[in-house]
Symmetry: D5
Subunit: 91 residues, 10 copies
């Protein structure tokens, strides 16, 4: 099943650059893995914000939760999830 996932990155402004860079690098690497596994299908930026909209696929909400919390930046992200139903037009 597919999910629409919104994230707002709330990493504090005074985070040292080294920490921030390491988190971002880890974030990208984990995102690449989630794409390979077919979990992360699309990712967009919300223009003007440190925020994203993503299209995810997972077996169920618990599996999605595990995927999202595996992102190194998760701890500082405000995440909202919306479960989507397949539309008959797409069957």
């Amino acid at each position: 099943m597919e999910f629409l996932v919104r994230t707002e990155n709330l990493l504090p402004h005074d985070t040292p650059d080294a920490t921030r860079d390491e988190l971002r690098r880890g974030e990208r690497e984990r995102a690449v893995e989630l794409r390979r596994e077919g979990v992360l299908k699309r990712l967009w930026r919300v223009p003007g914000r440190n925020a994203t909209v993503g299209l995810y696929e997972a077996e169920d909400p618990a599996a999605l939760h595990d995927a999202l919390t595996s992102l190194p930046m998760w701890k500082w992200m405000d995440v909202t999830v919306e479960a989507l139903a397949t539309h008959p037009q797409e069957k």
Copy 2:
């Protein structure tokens, strides 16, 4: 997977009693079937309102959508669905 489902019944006030009664009877019958099928697991009233909170189980959001739209009153209901993730404490 489980879903928390809220409904607000917006059937117009001037609906004839006969129509209303028939809809309610059909609603109860369909609800009984959904319970038997294991789709409707719990149902509560929101006190003071013509509204409910329900705990549903379905294979995915599309299956839940089909179950909800099979209720005769669905056409007049404002429905919101929240997908829940199994909590590790319950495994």
Copy 3:
């Protein structure tokens, strides 16, 4: 550019079935055309509601507006549009 488009269908409950069916048929036909033109890329149902989430692509917001208003049901739809920015991970 891509857009996330939400629609809520507000067609009155007392619309004659013939009118409703004709609108739906026209809606499906126009949607098929928009898919062929690459404007409508994905479509989901919001579970439990007469509502959709869609992923659209159009040259600009004015072109998207023209596509959405070409849907026969548009007149009865509450539509909200969110412009998405390509994420560097997808380049």
Copy 4:
């Protein structure tokens, strides 16, 4: 009577791991006790968030308040409670 209880965990990000682990362990232990006492009946995760939805049973709101504030993490949780009415279908 039954209550729907939502929690958002607001424990600061910079909480030392040892403190966090101890709080979580205490949280789980207290939750097990509340389950045994029949107060905590079901618990779900809100996917993507450090948040839960729970189904509780208590004699009245004051008893529920005592149960919730007995959780070691309560001090850092934003909690909202909704009292539910038994639905005639369930009698």
Copy 5:
């Protein structure tokens, strides 16, 4: 247990005066009964609106629901209920 109950009266503006008067008379009579039974403890007007705030006491939310729906005007009222917990200062 005690509840804070808000009501907004949505009776249509074009309701005939006779119907309106009869509903109001029935409303007052039922309110007097609920006071006698100790269910309706206090009632205020929201200034400027056709709305009230009430303090109710009932065994549980289901009993409160029955009391509120016994009001002749209930069908046209938007009602919200908040369950209150006894404060230790009042014990």
Copy 6:
């Protein structure tokens, strides 16, 4: 005139216990005085939260303001006030 007063206690989590205890003791003492003076008429807990709903009586909003700001915890409380009108049923 009567007022419905909501408070959310925002005292920081890292407040030393001694300070917190002293504030609470002062809060209770001042509340007892306000009850004696007929200003604080009823007090409830919002279940699950460090929050209250209170029924106050004061000559006017300025007098109520003085009563509320006389509470030692006021500085850390988010307070909202709603002025209530006497209902004709209660005259």
Copy 7:
């Protein structure tokens, strides 16, 4: 005591002009009286809307309620009232 009062005029669009004119005339006449009585102290338009912000003075919320409901248009107005406290700077 003083109150800030907001009104939104919801008179249906298809109200006959004669009815509308009569209501407006009655509204103006009653407003003039309320000014003379010192109840209506200031009145502004919310630009672009059929809405007003007003500064009223009344003995208490019940007296204000009586003044507002004496306006012929009240039945079609959505009214919200905010009780204001005298500021020490103005004493």
Copy 8:
């Protein structure tokens, strides 16, 4: 001074086409006049909606109100106005 003005067109769906066309023609004519007078400076569509965002200039909010209510469609429009302050960078 300049204002940001949002409009939502709420003309009923069952308005006869002739009435609708006449209103639109009148709307366009009046808009052209307001542009000539320097009152309407820019106008955009909110994509997907029968709604606009406009940049207006008027002597004060009362003059803006008069300009907006001179639009033939005003009666059916939900309008919100935001007064903007000149930014020092633009001086």
Copy 9:
């Protein structure tokens, strides 16, 4: 033109008393000046809060902005401004 101005004072709780007193003194002095200049016409307290509602008059929003930012406490205030239109009844 006139404006309705709301302020919420967000000065941190741990601000030293001397700093706070100095800010308040400066605030009062500047407010007195703004009254003399006819900019600040009325000021009320929002009961129960460290917040005010004020009626201001200024040539335009930019002049109002300058007046508000001249208040020593401005830096810590959350301010919202609403431009009001003169009502024909007051002409």
Copy 10:
């Protein structure tokens, strides 16, 4: 295409004056460049707030994102973007 961009400046109150001044100077310089490039077309202040409304033009949301994040103050700004569609009246 054009965008309406709102910013709220959340730079902490205790930022040293030198840092603040440097950020502001850099902000002005970058804004001048964006104006020259035709990206920033208009800028207003939200009266009473450390906030702006801006009219931007960019090829697409990603280009706008790059322009906004090039502002030295961006890191401390809460930014919301609304994509606007050209209105037929302006063609």
